[in-house]
Amino acid sequence: MTSHMLTRSLDRGAAMFLMVVAACGILIPLSNLLLPAGSVLQVPTYLVALWGKYVCYAILALSIDLIWGYCGILSLGHGAFFALGGYAMGMYLMRQIGTRGVYGNPILPDFMVFLNYSKLPWTWYGFDMFWFAALMVLLVPGLLAFCFGWLAFRSRVTGVYLSIITQAMTYALLLAFFRNDFGFGGNNGLTDFKDILGFNVQAEGTRAALFALSCLALIVAFLICRSVVSSKLGKVLIAIRDAESRSRFLGYRVESYKLFVFTLSACMAGVAGALYVPQVGIINPGEFAPGNSIEAVIWVAVGGRGTLVGAALGAIVVNYAKTFFTSGVLAPYWLFMLGALFILVTLLLPKGIVGAFNAWRESARERRPAAAAASAAAEDGITEPDMAEERS
């Protein structure tokens, strides 16, 4: 009985979040496209693009939460996977420009023309096909994460050491992509996109569609994370997070688990990057900057690590605050606020907004003894072994 109650509330919880995302994914584009401009309820295009960006960040935050919140792997280089996914998409978009580039070269992107490339580098082969690019969006970050993780987890690089070498990884990629000789547009990166799948990227309809697609991707990513963390594998991940060597002595091959979840997470980050690029219109090596990756970790910390909703919420809240504070009179002070936010959250809200909200509810519940029993019962149900919680 209790388990059923809980199953329901759990499903309701995930569903709550998913429904808000889905509702936004449907209503915002519709409002943008159907309502007349200037109407009170019409969401202007620039906000659609802006919120599309937030949604991509939310996917990135989910991917970080999956490994950090549930498996204790703090990657300070997740921006690298995000950026690689973005580059894969950017390369597709570049090749779609075709003869509409400023030099009118049908094959070579503009930057290659003025850097005197005579032919397309092999790394660019195949990116004129969407399916190939889409595959690469998953494959490139996934493969990098797999190789990196295979080396690191097998030799038991953990904790801060892992954090620091992930940082080194993204820093090395940053330097590499900055190089013009690397063949990916150097510091300027890839920009001035025209079409995606034949639709004009600047068009309102395309933007609305991309937004809806990002929301869909967020929903799918959420469901994947949800089913991973609520499976027995999720319990193993938490076991590894809390007592890694104990898990080993129980016969779990810790490195395989880490590798699996790290690679999955990198693929998700790649998808987030791929959706991000057509919406912001540029991908450049700046995305590899170690600071970006750290900032993404902070979104998760602010929202509440170990809670999927929290991670997504954190990304949206922090980025909204950033947008808000970087305009107008507060602009010179926003770094103070951002910095202070990080310090205060780690000091005062170690479990993030969602965690704190949760603790507050808990204590409120304890004040009402009548509800206490129900609460205990609710807690009980979560771990009922025969409960099929990945039903969603």
Partner: protein, 253 residues
């Protein structure tokens, strides 16, 4: 070596001439020890005698510089890692109770169950009747049925010790290594733990490291005393505790 007929020894656990040093400090020094199948052995020794390091060697956490460590007569443990050794059937309880504090008692046991531990297996795992029955049984054995849904972190110290023993049971290994199971327990709890271990010993080979002499006496099994990484004395508790060198070591020179 790996053919059944060529068993080097009939012992469940066989250590011979094992050496380990950390930066010049000889933690284990020519240690030789055998444990017969079905036996329960108590290991005593002062601090720094190498008890925990010995367990580390058996479970693959530390690699010896020299020496042979055989399990079940055939398997060279020095070549394997912790996971593989655990899969072979060696379970370990740590000196400091180590349970998964943010998960429930029941989940702790679930994680310890001796079933498919691969990524794929856990990702697509579905609960089954035999599994939940096993868990129920273990819960009963370790007297935590009522606490099954509590978070392991909220248990008392003694309960955590038991939960960890329960996890060993769920793991159902051939050999249990139990490091200081009664540290911090009340007398009643200590007594109950001794009973529990004796019960377990009926079906498993057990090695217990313990300081508490009352407890060791209660177990009533063969005792090995370690000192400076080597075996100082072996025999019944009375024999060992009357050994002059043991007394010297314990009281200091």
């Amino acid at each position: 070596m790996n053919v059944m007929d060529n068993r080097a020894t009939s012992a469940m656990l066989y250590l011979d001439g094992v050496h380990v040093s950390f930066d010049g400090f000889h933690a284990i020094n020519n240690l030789s020890l055998t444990l017969a199948p079905g036996e329960m052995r108590a290991i005593i020794g002062p601090n720094g005698a190498g008890k925990t390091t010995m367990m580390d060697i058996i479970t693959g956490k530390t690699k010896p510089d020299l020496g042979t460590v055989l399990f079940d007569g055939v398997t060279d443990l020095t070549r394997l890692d912790e996971t593989r050794i655990a899969e072979l059937g060696i379970g370990r309880k740590f000196q400091k109770p180590t349970v998964f504090e943010s998960q429930t008692v029941q989940d702790n046991l679930l994680l310890a169950l001796n079933v498919d531990h691969s990524v794929k297996g856990t990702l697509f795992w579905r609960g089954s009747k035999p599994e939940s029955e096993r868990i129920d049984k273990v819960l009963e054995t370790i007297r935590l049925t009522d606490a099954r849904n509590r978070l392991a972190g909220s248990l008392s110290h003694g309960q955590k010790q038991w939960l960890e023993i329960g996890m060993l049971l769920a793991q159902d290994p051939k050999l249990l290594l139990v490091d200081e199971p009664v540290a911090g327990m009340t007398d009643v709890e200590t007594h109950l733990t001794a009973e529990l271990l004796k019960e377990i010993n009926k079906t498993h080979t057990v090695m217990v490291v313990e300081h508490d002499m009352t407890f060791v006496r209660e177990l009533g099994v063969k005792v090995t005393c370690l000192h400076e990484g080597t075996v100082l004395a072996e025999g019944t508790i009375d024999q060992v505790s009357s050994n002059e060198r043991v007394i010297e070591v314990y009281l200091g020179r």
